[in-house]
């Protein structure tokens, strides 16, 4: 388990423990964090589980794959660090990560 903090668009924070190997989308859904709709259930096909990060975390989170990049094009408020949370696996390297949720998913 590692600790992750989700921050809603209005600043409300949710600190949760996530199991290694799950995804940031699973973590948000399992902990009923508002702002992750995840309509397609994690198939990288709907862009409703968008999250972003502080610039300093961009490297450890990693870059989106090509299908994910196509889906990120769909977003109205894309950030330099934007990812789809269904595509980000929870790993030791992400311990303490702060995950930011966009206003457009609420």
């Amino acid at each position: 388990m590692i600790q992750i903090t989700y921050v809603e668009h209005n600043g409300i924070e949710h600190r949760v423990d996530l199991a290694i190997g799950t995804t940031l989308m699973d973590g948000a859904k399992d902990n009923m964090i508002p702002g992750i709709d995840a309509d397609c259930g994690g198939a990288c096909a709907c862009a409703t589980c968008h999250v972003f990060f502080d610039a300093a975390d961009k490297v450890r989170v990693g870059e989106p794959g090509s299908q994910e990049s196509d889906m990120l094009e769909v977003l109205e408020e894309r950030h330099d660090s934007s990812r789809l949370s269904c595509q980000v696996r929870v790993a030791e390297a992400l311990a303490g990560l702060v995950v930011k949720l966009p206003a457009s998913q609420r």
Binding site: D37, D39, C40, G41, A43, A45, C46, A47, T48, Q67, D70, M71, E73, V74, E76
Partner: protein
């Protein structure tokens, strides 16, 4: 079923055949156990997938199984948006449409839905008998969905009839389907043109008139194709779940009591009614490149029908899958689809079903079906009960 093997059954499989689809579940069971990806020789030939994991994969993997050549067999004469698109373009449509179908957004319709249900029940409650299909469920849904879309309410009856014909007639009455399609296009295109000259109204049509994709506004035809699929999706499928639930509750009076008393959770029960009904029995995708699927060789351009109706009865995922167990949890059914095209109206459907069932139990509390009642179904990709004749102790209209 006789002695036919799963392979033989799949070859003859035709989801538009009332004979096969009135009671399809034993046939699906044979598909799953003997021929999980088979090939039907009907309608020009198509593959048929029946196991939960496979069906789910087909609908999630849009790069391998595309929607852009249509999602019906036989082909629907009209392309519709966004159901006949793949991501990422499909997702751009959905992001716009989703705003009108969130839990919060559909909750604002609660009083309207309740009022429409009460009004229809008032029409027959004094008589002590009714066809709940013709007198309650089918007339109800257009009164909710047409105003939500911005379609003209005065054409409600006609639009419902045309949609019914277009849904059911592709295999048997293709000319009738074309005529209905032209008629409905006429009404909707006129409405779209009229609304362009009017002040904005807060409905789906208004939102589409006001939205853009990649900087380009929607054409009248784009909007028409979008409204059309919401009509297809919003009327027939929800009716199917309502009627199947009502029949189940008629036959299980002890369950009614457990729902009314709160012993059973409504949301959990409703998910199970939706799984058990699976109003969309299957949808098509087109294979984009040669691929192996559970031992079957699929070629680029082949059509494949993923059977939601079978996936939702897969015993490896749903113990006692042929039983309607209203406290079933977890219930990862795919009756609303899976992947990018998951049902746009699912939150509205859940709300409509809950209000309808609660109201029937409150107002027609002792309704009964005849002991020898055998439901008959309208079939195709969508499957729904034709008629549900009940009697009950006559009651008073609301306000009396």
């Amino acid at each position: 079923m006789g002695k036919q093997t799963g392979q033989q059954l799949v070859e003859k499989f035709d989801h538009t055949s009332p004979e096969q689809m009135n009671q399809p579940y034993a046939m699906y069971q044979a598909f799953r156990s003997q021929c999980p990806v088979g090939r039907s020789a009907q309608h020009g030939g198509f593959h048929v997938a029946s196991r939960y994991e496979t069906v789910k994969k087909i609908f999630e993997d849009y790069s391998s199984f595309s929607s852009t050549s249509g999602v019906a067999i036989p082909d629907h004469p009209y392309r519709m948006f966004p159901i006949d698109l793949d991501p990422p373009l499909q997702a751009k449509f959905r992001r716009i449409l989703n705003r009108k179908f969130t839990i919060e957004s559909v909750a604002t319709k609660q009083a309207e839905i309740q009022g429409a249900i009460d009004h229809l029940i008032d029409g027959f409650i004094a008589t002590g008998k009714a066809d709940l299909a013709a007198q309650l469920v089918r007339p109800l849904l257009p009164t909710i969905v047409l105003p939500l879309l911005g379609a003209p309410i005065e054409s409600q009856q006609q639009i419902s009839e045309w949609i019914e014909l277009m849904t059911r007639g592709r295999a048997s009455d293709i000319e009738g389907v074309a005529r209905a399609g032209e008629a409905i296009a006429g009404v909707l295109m006129t409405q779209i043109a009229k609304r362009r000259t009017m002040p904005p109204i807060d409905d789906v049509l208004g939102m589409l008139l006001d939205s853009q994709i990649d900087g380009k506004p929607f054409t009248d035809e784009d909007i028409y194709r979008t409204l059309l699929i919401i009509l297809f999706g919003g009327l027939d499928t929800t009716s199917a779940v309502m009627l199947e639930s009502l029949l189940y509750l008629a036959r299980h009076p002890e369950t009614r009591q457990r729902l009314v008393s709160g012993e059973l959770s409504w949301p959990t029960a409703i998910e199970e009614f939706i799984r058990y009904t699976s109003p969309i029995q299957g949808l098509r995708r087109t294979v984009t490149g040669d691929v192996e699927l559970e031992g079957a060789s699929l070629k680029s351009g082949d059509r494949i029908l993923g059977l939601h109706g079978s996936a939702n009865r897969d015993e490896s995922v749903f113990p006692q899958a042929d039983q309607c167990l209203l406290d079933r949890a977890p219930n990862p059914h795919i009756a609303f689809g899976a992947g990018a095209h998951v049902c746009l109206g699912r939150n509205l459907a859940r709300l409509e079903i809950e209000i309808l069932l609660k109201t029937v139990l409150a107002r027609l509390g002792d309704y009964r079906v005849a002991d020898d009642f055998e439901p008959e179904y309208l079939v195709g990709e969508a499957r729904g009960m034709k008629q549900l004749l009940v009697d009950f102790t006559p009651g008073l209209k609301t306000g009396q």
